[in-house]
Amino acid sequence: MLKILKYSFYDLIRSRWSYVYFAFYLLLGFVLLFLNNDVSKAVITLMNVIIILVPLMGTMFGIMYFYNSKEFTELLLAQPLKRTSIFIGQYLGVATSLSLSLILGLGIPFLVYGIFKSEAILDFSLLLVTGGFLTFIFTAISFYIGLSNENRIKGFGYAILFWLFMAVIYDGLFLISLILFEEYPLDTFSLIASMANPIDLSRILILLKLDISALMGYTGAVFQKFFGTSWGLIVSLGVLFLWVLIPVLLIRRKALKKDF
């Protein structure tokens, strides 16, 4: 599996798109820092970008890489390799190189700016950690969608729809249900509902670390009580980890049953 990971990783870090992705974050990091001159504000703006863009890039790169390497995968399948190690290896290669673009692209400007002297170091590393998780989650899901759909157009469609649902539609439904059921106690519901979407979970995790939960009223206080503690942080990271693990297990199951 490590060999496949290595080659997928090399293949990707040499492609132009990885550099474009890297350069984009580099530029974003520098521009935000020098326009804002305030690390905390830069982190919030970055969060808003990352929370939408990272899942989209993970989805797109994942599904594109999967379909583009289809014939090559067939070549690998005829080699003395385990099926699962081929697919898990490729997945880890894609997700790792994307995460690297993100972490280096944002890390360099912040290092230059002197993040280690700033108090925002924890918020900033949390931002990178959740960004990494989101990359691994959405790449895994797009790989699973790719494995389940022979038809590329359908696969692309489902992958984009999934991203759109998680990034946009989910929040809409969430808000509507909060308004519809406003007469009932909704603390537990909203806690669970935000756990069930990795994008929302990451957003809340970062927002609460930035101590602006006061803006969110009563629910904010409930959230602060849960997510603000180290127990809440551990549970949230655990849930994010589950969001990686479940699609990976699904990839494994699908890969063992599929014909090529």
């Binding site: 080659y7 090559f72 385990k82 090529f260």
Partner: protein
């Protein structure tokens, strides 16, 4: 020796293999023939474990291949479509496959010479023509010294010179006593390199025997006509 017992495979409603029984003894060169969509590639891929049969078993040297992967060390395979990661160079791809096969002894330089691939070694695979990619594909298939060689449409995209080279390589492998399984639509090529032919028709083996047997059975002197005769009979 490869033993195939009552293999059934369907894709959705499309039944491709309907009970194939076959024994491929060691040291034979067998051609897999049949019209488009008759199940040649499905049969080949079942042996490689890429297609999982609905029913039936396949044994390689009396060992069931189901869920195994190490048995593929004994097989060299040439896929029908040659397509590789576009960012890799030819030399890197060869190195990579060698690495993946875990340091098996490979004889790639001989085949690079034979197919005159030296000028392309440092080019990226994405910039190669279809025929050149097929040559790279052939180098990858022949460079290991496995006892079983499976070639799916090896002639596609090759120029006449390379076709001659390919024929020589296959004949050389036969002398070494290897088992070859070749699917092709070029009858003259099949006649030149194979001892036996196996004709698949509608998911079953319709004919299995030597080329001489086939000619005798169909009363035709010419191999191409014999195959055509077989096809006509199959339709009747």
């Amino acid at each position: 020796m490869i033993e195939i017992k009552n293999i059934h495979k369907s894709f959705g409603k499309n039944e491709v293999l309907k009970g194939v029984d076959l024994v491929i003894p060691e040291g034979n060169a067998i051609a897999v023939l049949g019209p488009n969509g008759s199940g040649k590639t499905t049969l080949i891929k079942s042996i490689l474990g890429m297609v999982l049969p609905n029913q039936g078993e396949i044994f390689l040297n009396t060992k069931n291949i189901k869920k195994g992967w190490e048995y593929r060390k004994q097989i060299d395979y040439l896929p029908q479509i040659a397509n590789f990661p576009n960012n890799l160079k030819v030399s890197e791809l060869i190195k990579m496959i060698k690495d993946i096969r875990g340091g098996e002894i490979a004889n790639e330089s001989k085949y690079i010479d034979l197919f005159s691939l030296h000028p392309f070694l440092n080019k990226k695979l994405g910039n190669l023509s279809g025929g050149t990619k097929q040559k790279v594909n052939l180098v990858l298939a022949f460079m290991f010294n496995s006892p079983i060689i499976i070639l799916d449409e090896p002639t596609s995209g090759l120029d006449p010179v390379s076709l001659l080279v390919l024929k020589d390589i296959i004949l050389e492998q036969k002398v070494k006593g290897k088992t070859l399984l070749i699917s092709s639509h070029i009858m003259s090529f099949v006649e030149a390199v194979c001892d036996k032919v196996m004709f698949i028709w509608e998911g079953k083996i319709y004919f299995n025997g030597t080329i001489a047997d086939l000619k005798k059975e169909t009363n035709e002197d010419d191999f191409e006509h014999a195959i055509a005769h077989l096809l006509k009979n199959a339709h009747a």
